[in-house]
Amino acid sequence: MKKKLSPYSLFDVFTAVVTLIVVAFISAAILSILIKGFPYLGEAFFSEEVRFAVKLSLYTASISTFVCFVLAVPTAYSLTRGTFPFKKIAQIIIELPLSMPYLVLGLCLLLIFSSEFGKALRDMGFRVVFDKNGIIMAQTIVNLPYMIRLIKTAFAEVDERLEIIAGMLGASRWKRFLTITLPLARNAVISAVILVWSRGLGEFGATLMVVGATRMKTETLPASIYLNMATGDIGAAMASAIIILLISFVSLFATSRLEGKNLQASRMKDVYWQ
């Protein structure tokens, strides 16, 4: 009782061909990484420095994704459902960094956290510049506007009526949000988290500006790739890139199952159509 491909559907053929082109293009890119990096992969696996970079990348990307999530969800909610003055301008301000080169965003962070305010923070023990925290900050400022926009779009698509109905059944606004809005926006939110985490893993434009790359201290995988490329060691750089690919592959594989589980079962799932 599965859907069946109509043998003559031009539309299907067209979309499949485009997909094939895209897959071929991206495969070529990935293949070029694999070819260049493969001979150096063994070496990279056993390098303590690379292992450190893997751990640091996973750590910072996860934390910054978490920070983005925690900030983006309430912000996205108040931008879609809330009514506060200057909402529209707040929205535009939040999205302005979307088109900023990451380098500039890094510089902004450097300026902010080198100011008196940043010095005060440092004295309180929260060091940003040249510190792990800086990596997290860099990834956060780069990704936060994305996450907010993605989740905002998702929340806007949720039928407000169901929230009202939940309210009538006794759900406080908080509960309505947790039991209706968020679950109904689930797939888009998961998608946003994956995108942001991936970008966190690959980001280094802003990071390099805020923390540079100190061996065994602030050297993430992309920073390690950057350093290797700067010293002409493309092989080692590509080996690190392969490691990112592997991490990415595993996490995409794992999350694709998460997303596939669509809770809104519909009788149309059994329908056979062309």
Partner: protein, 242 residues
């Protein structure tokens, strides 16, 4: 018996797009069952939604137990609403839909389960408790929506064509069940229907809406008594009889 007006509508009017709800005056007593009849598009659903406090009227006010209902936060209104299109939560099973309100009251897991099962049995939807709304038949959806509202024993029940998707036999059972619950908990019920017989069976009083106007309110035994308004007579099918 000194009955208190539970719902008090005073000169309430409303505009929605091109539709105008003409100023309405209506008192509904505690424990009463009030039926609303009317042509399609005449504003029956809007009236129910207004009583639930969904709109700020253009004029007038609606009080429930002396409170301006629109001022009460949604979750404190204590109104059970069965929506014409059910409004089930698509991401929850039937059981979770029915138990939703109880969960919001932080009832115990076991209590919720028992209550849901009891309600499901009454409405004959026990076999579908694990299904998602998307897979239900029309009548099953409707009964799920009814169960979700009834399980909370609200002081007021607003039912918008609650039995329209049910077969006659199931309808009969539903009439009995709702009346039983009404007697047990003494809730006040407003319901919309297109079925004159249903209105007479269930309601104490019946209101007739025509083009946004609540034209006539009468005791249900007197439903087919001719009105001074010709439109009401025509709606009741009394014009032909004359």
């Amino acid at each position: 018996m000194a009955v208190n007006p539970l719902v008090e509508i005073r000169d309430y009017s409303l505009r929605l797009g091109k539709f105008k709800l003409q100023p309405i005056n209506l008192m509904i007593n505690e424990g009463e069952i009030f039926g609303v009849l009317g042509k399609t598009g005449s504003g029956k659903t809007v009236l129910l939604e207004s009583i639930a406090g969904f709109y700020r009227g253009c004029s007038g006010q609606i009080w429930i137990q002396g409170q301006d209902i629109a001022e009460v936060p949604l979750e404190k209104r204590g109104i059970g609403f069965v929506y014409q299109d059910f409004g089930l939560f698509p991401h929850m099973t039937v059981a979770d839909n029915i138990g939703y309100g109880l969960r919001m009251q932080r009832k115990e897991k076991q209590t919720i389960k028992d209550e849901v099962n009891r309600m499901a049995e009454i409405l004959a939807i026990s076999p579908i408790l694990k299904q998602y709304p998307g897979t239900l038949s029309g009548g099953e959806r409707q009964r799920t929506a009814i169960a979700r509202a009834l399980v909370l024993n609200p002081r007021i029940l607003l039912l918008d064509e609650p039995f329209s998707s049910l077969d006659p036999a199931t309808k009969e059972t539903m009439y009995r069940q709702v009346k039983e619950i009404h007697q047990l908990f003494g809730c006040t019920i407003l319901f919309v229907t297109h079925d004159f017989k249903e209105a007479q069976t269930m309601a104490d009083r019946i209101g007739i809406m025509i083009k946004g106007e609540l034209k006539s309110i009468r005791r249900s035994e007197e439903l087919f008594i001719r009105d001074s308004d010709e439109e009401v007579n025509r709606f009741l099918g009394l014009s032909d009889r004359v």
